[in-house]
Amino acid sequence: MIGDTLSRIGRVGIFLVRVLRHAGVVFTEPRAVVHQIYNAGARSLVIIMLCGLFVGMVLGLQGYDLLQRFGSEDALGVAAALGLLKELGPVVTALLFAGRAGTSLTSEIGLMRATDQLTAMEIMAVDPLRKVVAPRLIGGIIAMPLLVAVFNVIGLFGAQLIGVQVMGVDTGAFWSQMQGAVELDDVNEGIVKSFCFGVACSLVAVYEGYHAQPTAAGVGLATTRTVVISSVLTLLIDYILTAAFLGR
């Protein structure tokens, strides 16, 4: 079991190195990378914005309920901002990314494998790692922090909507306390996390698709594995990074 896991991690690592050897596609084929940023990022915007709004609204409600017990409801802006920037933004976005863009990447590459499109490229002396996998991996990595940023902005709007507009927290206190308490390190923590989640989720998605069994059941299984592994990996990496940042 442990041996299998280690061997699998090794294979994924080698795969990552093989793909990153083609990282030059960012410069040689920028249109392909931009197209993948659009696929993974822009096409996930609606679900990210919708979920960001609801998460922010819940944060506003729960935060207000908790803080008003201590007479500190003015600190709602700080609580919402730190919660979103450091944790909820990157984590929830990564989970949504795995479900929306990750599954799409896996099934697309898996179907290309099942319908011999990847083999056809290899026969045409075109490396599918360069033509198919690298632009999708890099596109996913770039898209994730951008999606997290959008999620955070919409989440803060949702928290403000509930906290200020509905529950009556003072507008000035909400924004000024946030501005005073949130530091650049807090923002950086979220950026680092979103980048790491982007690498993990995109890598899992393209790896599972590339190595999917070339059958309908195989592609289905690979898609399921993408969601499960990406989600677990996101939470595991989140713990490790949080511990690392707090222990600094």
Binding site: M112, T115, D116, Q117, T119, A120, M121, E122, I123, M124, A125, V126, D127, K131
Partner: protein, 281 residues
């Protein structure tokens, strides 16, 4: 026609396979296969389903490595080449896949242009002329702007053929090119294979089990069965062969050396048993 598996005598073999052994786990696919594809000729590889015809193409194109034996293409030993070497060899090959394997997110024009864009920097005007010429050769110039999802099976196969010849390969490999085609489309593909071979001087290897179609275009045929070449020769020689397995295959008999039934235990015991234990042969 020789009775024993051998190879067609030719000093100009583009593909030369010697003593090929290959298998999946304990299952042997090839057990000492020898064959050659002569320059400028159409070589057919026939055999019942599951005899490893497609696997043979995978070995020739360097997608998989044999357990033992030699696979020589253009005088280079494929089994010893690294990835770059295999890719440089493949630039001289074209392959038509069973299902066409068109890139589904690209138009017909872009599918044919794909290998050219990947390997050459041609001005767009020249590229357009080249692609349209190849599409015209397969009769689909008018379909250049269609997407693969808008094509019939026969049209997709012809677009894939245009893509396979766009780099003017020396060797063209066809994997079951007639599967699932209506008689008209099949006739078109048959004609194209032979016409392209003759007009462009390409060496062709066609893997199929459509005996009649192959007989009309192949210069030399190999019949694979049980992991070996059981017969080879011109289509006429195979037709005249007295070997039972050749007779069965050429005349399409349902039973013979290639049995109708998959190996199983006693029929009565199987039917009258309690269903818990299935006897195996």
């Amino acid at each position: 026609m020789p009775e024993e598996p051998a190879v067609a005598a030719s000093k100009e073999a583009v593909v030369r396979v010697r003593g090929l052994h290959y298998g999946f786990g304990s299952r042997k696919i090839f057990d000492g296969v020898d064959l050659e594809a002569a320059r400028g000729r159409v070589t057919a590889v026939m055999g019942p389903s599951g005899t490893g015809k497609t696997t043979l193409l995978r070995l020739i194109t360097g997608q998989v490595a044999p357990a033992a034996g030699s696979v020589e293409v253009f005088g280079r030993e494929v089994t010893t080449l690294d990835t770059a070497g295999v890719y440089s060899l493949r630039r001289r090959m074209g392959m038509l896949f069973q299902n066409g394997a068109l890139l589904t997110d690209l138009s017909v024009f872009e599918n044919v242009a794909f290998p050219v864009r990947a390997h050459a920097r041609l001005p767009e005007r020249v590229l357009r002329q080249l692609v349209l010429t190849k599409l015209h050769a397969v009769g689909l110039r008018g379909a250049a702007e269609l997407m693969p999802s808008e094509l019939s099976g026969g049209m997709a196969r012809r677009v894939a053929l245009a893509r396979a010849i766009v780099m003017d390969p020396d060797l063209l490999i066809y994997d079951e090119p007639f599967v699932g085609l209506d008689p008209v489309s099949m006739g078109v593909i048959v004609r194209l294979i032979r016409d392209l071979n003759d007009a462009l001087g390409i060496t062709s290897i066609v893997v199929s089990h459509d005996v009649r179609e192959l007989a009309s275009i192949a210069h030399h045929s190999y019949l694979l069965s049980g992991g070996k070449v059981v017969a080879h020769g011109t289509p006429a020689e195979l037709d005249a062969s007295p070997l039972p397995i050749v007779r069965q295959f050429m005349s399409g008999e349902s039973d013979g050396p290639v049995p109708f039934h998959y190996p199983a235990g006693d029929y009565h015991a199987d039917l009258l048993g309690d269903g818990k234990e299935r006897p195996r042969s």
